[in-house]
Every structure is written in structure tokens, then in C-alpha cells.
Symmetry: C2
Subunit: 316 residues, 2 copies
């Protein structure tokens, strides 16, 4: 059975006792500045400070007791690791997180604070996957992939599902940042399979310096090797297989934006919405600033993906 909106609905029922239904925020000043109406789904206020709590919670609560007893493992630049550590702790399941050495300190600390075992590796996808494979071979733990897994995609889709209920009237566009593609593929599934006309188009937003999803989408072929150099540390993963398939089918377009614009967007969100978001979460608004004509007079739903970063190392 291919993944469907029903899986997302089941995920919502499964995780809703544990996660926040995060608020939708607006800023009349940002709307005036960009000439459109934006609805920000504040998943920076989610458990563990990122939407990743949704997928991790769904994955862990879908496992049986013997699997939980052996524990879970993942690789993550940070937010998924923290989310899995948090979700595993809810079920008293052991958890190991493989993290790239260059992950932000705040994210390393968060993973450890939820009681997971942290293991560092080089900052490449190959190194991450090799470390995880070793751990699975040694310990018989279950991999909970950060994005390329049905239960994760269904969980991440619950943010868009909530948004459809929170914003009454139809919207023109939903936009999510794309790294590994869990959030974007889950969101696209929800939008395209929900009752007609609630949201018309789904766009991905990606940094120019991590443009593997954009290039693969345009080419019709997933790019699996890419060395990202973006400040948006949450978007440094390359698009997963399941994610690429869903995105190819359901996403209308992917837009790029520059590092400078991501920082500008981040400051705009901090200063106008008064909310702390990490660089990755600022990418959709940065895209809107770079492609103003596409979004003029539109009603746009944006998912603010997370709010975890080192306050001592701000990019301005």
C-alpha cells in the first residue's frame, strides 16, 4: 500500500497525546513588506524545538515491545536525533544517535539531555550511514531513519494536517524547507490528497548551497551525492528515495535562495514574529523575498521547522 493521507491521520491520532498542536502566527508588518498574506506554523515551539518530534514519535509508537526493548538508532545533524531520543525516552527504549562532528553545540547538548548515547562521525552521508550500520550489526537495534521511512513521513505530514484545520479559508500555497525531504513529502501528500481546494500548490524551499532536491526535481532523477555548504544545518542531508518519489509526484516546484537571504529572513522572523527560528526554518520566507512575483497577493502557509541553534554563534 502506498503511503496516503490516511497514514498521516493515523499518525496524528497516535502522536497527539505527546506533541503540541503548535500555533499559527501572522505578522501584518511582514505581510505589508512582501505584499501577501503569510501563515507561519510555529513548529519551532514543538517538543524538542522542531517538527522532527512528530515523525520520531510516530515511528517509535508504531514499534512493538520487543523492538523497543532492543532500542533505536539514527543518524542526524541534530533535530531528528533529539526527537528520537525524546520519543524513545517516552517508551523507555534505549537510543543511540550518530551525529556529524560539525553539528551545532545546542543540538549535541539536546540529544544528550534526553538520555541518548551520542556517537560522532565525519560530516558526510556515507560516514553517517556506515556508523549506523555498524551499530545495528552489533546491537540489533532498529534504524529510525531521519526522513526516508514511511512512519517518519506520515508523522511529519501532521503539521500540514493541523494547519488545514487551523486556517479556515483556502490558501494558495504551502511551502516547507527541503533537506532529506521528510517534511516536504509528508506535507505534499496531505495537501494533494485532502479535500479539493484547501491549498492549491505545494512548493519546496532549499538553499542554493544545498540544491540537491532542486536539481534532482528538475532533472527527474534523485541526486544522492552532494556536498552541502549551507548555514541551514537542518537541510544538509540529501533527498531520500521515498521522499524523492513523493516530491516528484506531489510537489509543484522547488525554489532556491541564497545564504545572505536566509540570514535576512531569519532576522525578519526574529524581529517581527519575536520567535527564535534556526536558519533552516527561515528558508521558505527567504525564497519569498527572492521570488516576490511568484507570491504577490497570495495566501501562503509556511512551516517554521525548528528553533534550535547556538545563540553564541549567530550569523550576524
Amino acid at each position: 500500500m502506498p503511503l496516503s493521507i490516511d497514514d498521516v491521520r493515523q499518525a496524528r491520532d497516535r502522536i497527539s497525546p505527546h506533541i503540541h498542536c503548535t500555533p499559527v502566527m501572522k505578522s501584518s508588518q511582514i505581510n505589508r513588506l512582501l505584499g501577501c498574506e503569510i501563515f507561519f506554523k510555529a513548529d519551532n515551539l514543538q517538543k524538542v524545538g522542531a517538527f522532527k518530534a512528530r515523525g520520531a514519535c510516530n515511528a517509535v509508537f508504531s514499534m512493538d515491545s520487543s523492538e523497543l526493548e532492543r532500542g533505536v538508532v539514527t543518524h542526524s545533524s541534530g533535530n531528528h536525533g533529539a526527537a528520537l531520543a525524546w520519543a524513545a525516552a517516552l517508551c523507555n527504549a534505549p537510543c543511540t544517535v550518530v551525529m556529524p562532528e560539525n553539528a551545532p553545540q545546542a543540538k549535541k547538548d539536546a540529544v544528550a539531555s534526553y538520555g541518548a548515547t551520542v556517537q560522532f562521525c565525519k560530516a558526510t552521508m556515507a560516514a553517517r550511514e556506515a556508523s549506523v550500520a555498524d551499530i545495528i550489526a552489533e546491537q540489533g537495534t532498529t534504524l529510525v531513519h531521519p526522513y526516508d521511512q514511511d512512519s517518519i513521513i506520515a508523522g511529519q505530514g501532521t503539521a500540514a494536517l493541523e494547519m488545514l484545520q487551523q486556517v479556515d479559508s483556502p490558501m494558495d500555497i504551502l511551502m516547507a524547507p527541503v533537506g532529506g525531504g521528510g517534511l516536504l513529502s509528508g506535507s505534499a501528500l496531505v495537501v494533494k490528497q485532502s479535500s479539493a481546494g484547501a491549498i492549491t500548490k505545494v512548493y519546496g524551499a532549499e538553499p542554493e548551497m544545498a540544491a540537491d532536491a532542486f536539481e534532482g526535481f528538475k532533472r527527474g532523477e534523485r541526486i544522492s551525492t552532494y556536498v552541502p555548504k549551507t548555514i541551514a544545518d537542518g537541510l544538509r542531508g540529501t533527498l531520500g528515495v521515498r521522499n524523492f518519489a513523493l516530491i516528484s509526484e506531489h510537489v509543484d516546484d522547488i525554489f532556491l535562495t541564497s545564504e545572505a537571504r536566509i540570514i535576512e529572513s531569519m532576522k525578519l522572523i526574529w524581529s517581527r514574529l519575536k520567535m527564535v527560528v534556526e536558519p533552516s526554518a527561515a528558508v521558505p520566507l527567504a525564497v519569498m523575498m527572492d521570488h516576490a512575483d511568484v507570491f504577490k497577493d497570495k495566501r501562503v502557509a509556511i512551516i517554521l521547522s525548528g528553533g534550535n541553534l547556538d545563540l553564541e554563534q549567530l550569523p550576524w
Copy 2:
């Protein structure tokens, strides 16, 4: 007639079409860290980014049309100025704001962006008041004082009034930062005149480097000359006459905290609540960190007073 909770209720009815009923936020991590339960009233998400929108809106909407036509004037380190400019614009009333030269750039910009005339003066209370007196003499405008005025105090009290409705069960303590005393006096009035037992005690929170309210409260005599040097720019004013009287009558205690603790508290709010607050708003939580024994196991309501600051000039 002395000011009463009925004035605050009338203020709420008058301003509620124009202001936000701001959310109450919690953080299980902050609660664990401090060993108590804290309810943060997020008035950093209020119009103009501060609770000051409440008082200014109440003051302006209490004026008659001929007064509004002549316009309003005030002196302010920033948030009250922006709030008055915003409220005056709602009524098409001219507005002049006298600001100290050392106010944060973000606050200067905000006042100008709402269409008010900005006039700079030296950073002393005497200089502020002299400039305002000149403008009133020349233009026949009405002073809307930043704190020492009944309509302002009643307006600021609406934050505590909302909180009493938003948090169901009884709380032990409500704490607000104290500068000129508008927020603290209005809050104290509400708590002490509301139905018995909803909140037991009201505390003020003040920086050691701006301890005029603390010293006057302990001495039983208002201190009118004081040179504050705190990072909490919103708390640099000295306590008003009406504010001192209400605080002496209704506030249970005032606690001090250090500059370093204010910065630590600010970072804790940014990193855990994912909300941008200015230094003044972090003072109550800083007090809790400094006086942990007073707050142990208590249910504490804190008003996050504002979120306006220069992101380029963070104190860490």
C-alpha cells in the same frame, strides 16, 4: 474615585478589538531547572511587540475628538513611544515622541515606522520632561504619560486580567518587571481586587542597577532621582507617583537581580521558549534564578513585557 479593577475591565472592553489576547507559554525544561511551575504571558507577541500597546490604546481611545485632533505627545525609551504612535495612528491623531538619544535603534525605528514625529533629548528624566513640556506649550497636545496616568495603569492591568482567565487553577505568585511601574501597579490592582485566591502574591522584579522602586518600596518613600545603568532599557524610568502609591498598597515584595543574571535568563527564554524577549522581559525569571528558595514548588505567573531589541547588539 481611586482606580479599581473595574477600570481595568473597562479598559479591556475598550482595547480588545485592537490588541492581541497573547498566549500563555510553558517550558517543562525551565520548570525542571527551577523546581517550580511557570506561566509566561507572552506580551512580546503583543501589538508593537510589548504590553505598552495596552495602556496607550486605552489612553487614546479614552480621549475625545477635539483632544485627538490636537494630538498626543509622550517621552519614552521606546516601547511606550511605539505603542502611542501605533494607537494614535488608529485614530488618525498626530503624535510626537520624545526619546533619549541612547534608546535602541530598533525602538527608534519602530516609533518612526508608525508615523510619529520623533524628537531626541538627553537620557535623563529631567530632559525628557522638559522637552515634553515645551511641545505641550507650543502645540496644545495632550500628554500620554508612559506610566504615571490612570488610563495607562488600567490598560497595562489587562495583561494580568487576561492571565486570570487563561490559567484555570490558582497561582501562588504573579511577577512583573518594574521600571516606571505601570505594568506592576496595574497587575497588582487586578490581583488584589479579583476574586479571592486566584493569585496570592504579587512581586516586582527590578535590576540591581535600576533599584529605585526597590529602595523606595523598602523605605516607604518614592525615589524620584536615580541614574539607572541597566541593560534592561525598558526599566530605566523612575517609579511614578500613582504607581508608587498602588505598589506600596498592593505589591507584596520587590526583588533585585544582577545584569549577568538578566542576560542568562534572556538566553534561557530564547533557547527554551524559542521566543525573542528584550532584557527587561527577562528580569522576573532572573529574579527567580537568584532567589530560588522563594519560588521553590510555587506556581508563578510572569509577564514577558516585550521583545524589541537590536539583534545586532546582543549582550553575549
